[in-house]
Point group: C2
């Protein structure tokens, strides 16, 4: 695709580096910005740069934060005895949106993936172990809320091995089964099989 | 959706103002930028701001340009006698990509749309008429390459009325019919009907 202007060409080039944005979408976004008020672009550019250069990560849980301690870790009303381990910041936001969890978090920053060259030392696993074993730690339960993929299960297994020397610590995992609204006949065999083996008592 | 950081919240807010970008996509883009090199964000922000604030529009054809005269208008090798009228800069890029057209362009900047409050005076129609009627003008043909929608047809009709006092000027429109690879049975009735009435002689 040839562009009549170098300026638009470089803007389209940069936009199309974003995930899920191709050349045509990038051009549509660039032309949208050109048609909109100049302020829109200025605010967008500034918000992106500010986010990238000023954002911090919580020293305790590695969640994104504006301050050295994130708002969840700083909240004394939350249950300090439970830590929910997730791979990604997105998972924190997703779980927070359910409003069903009042404990703390620990963001691993990914999952163990030999193919992508991500080993345990690239994640915040040591920081989690330190947090749990630290003197005076109130943590009684670690919930492994990691996506049940090959890499996720490997990570969960590695973590439970790392934590098994702590007999007083409960390690749990999120419930797996048929999702709400899901059709039994379309569920995969492994999920359906496990959901029968690990059946739950019906509330009566 | 609640965010753990005001910085990411404002970046997601600004990104989700882009067309076709919802809150979830915006968050994905923001987290991608956070994970990528800081340079990526800096270059993107700079390219967007530079594009918005430094881009110019060609004085003659209103195409985007880095200079007062765009590269197409400045190219003396192109056919100065034909002007292709399009609604949008995107159409110029699309026609240029076909490599089938060697003439000039005129970008209207939209189509007449009473619903959106866009009248003839909001478009560069006067500039086109002036360009065609100017003393010494070499323009012999105006091609109306406007999308055959309700608004597009209205605009084309308005333009042809504006230009009908120039008997020496040929006004043409792009060919309409069944697109290449299109199935006759799925074509709409109006297109199919017109493609039969305006049938073309088969090359033999």
């Amino acid at each position: 695709m040839e562009f009549p202007s170098k300026l638009i060409e470089s803007a389209v080039g940069e936009l199309s580096k974003l995930p899920g944005v191709g050349k045509k979408t990038a051009l549509r976004l660039a032309l949208h910005l050109l048609k909109a008020e100049a302020d829109t672009t200025a605010t967008l550019a500034e918000a992106l740069a500010k986010m990238r250069f000023e954002i911090r990560y919580c020293d305790t849980c590695h969640n994104i934060s504006d301050t050295p301690e994130c708002s969840i870790c700083a909240n004394q009303l939350r249950d300090q005895s439970t830590v929910c381990v997730v791979s990604d910041i997105r998972d924190v936001i997703a779980i927070e949106n359910t409003a069903q969890y009042q404990g703390m978090y620990h963001v691993l920053g990914g999952v163990i993936s030999p193919i992508e060259g991500i080993g345990p030392s690239d994640l915040t696993i040591d920081s989690l172990v330190e947090r749990v074993t630290k003197e005076g730690s109130e943590i009684r339960e670690v919930i492994l809320a990691i996506s049940p993929t090959m890499e996720g299960d490997t990570t969960a297994f590695y973590l439970s091995r790392k934590l098994r020397d702590l007999p007083e610590l409960n390690v749990s995992t999120i419930a797996r089964g048929i999702p709400m609204g899901g059709e039994l006949e379309y569920a995969d065999e492994i999920t359906l099989g496990r959901s029968i083996v690990e059946r739950q008592r019906q509330a009566r």
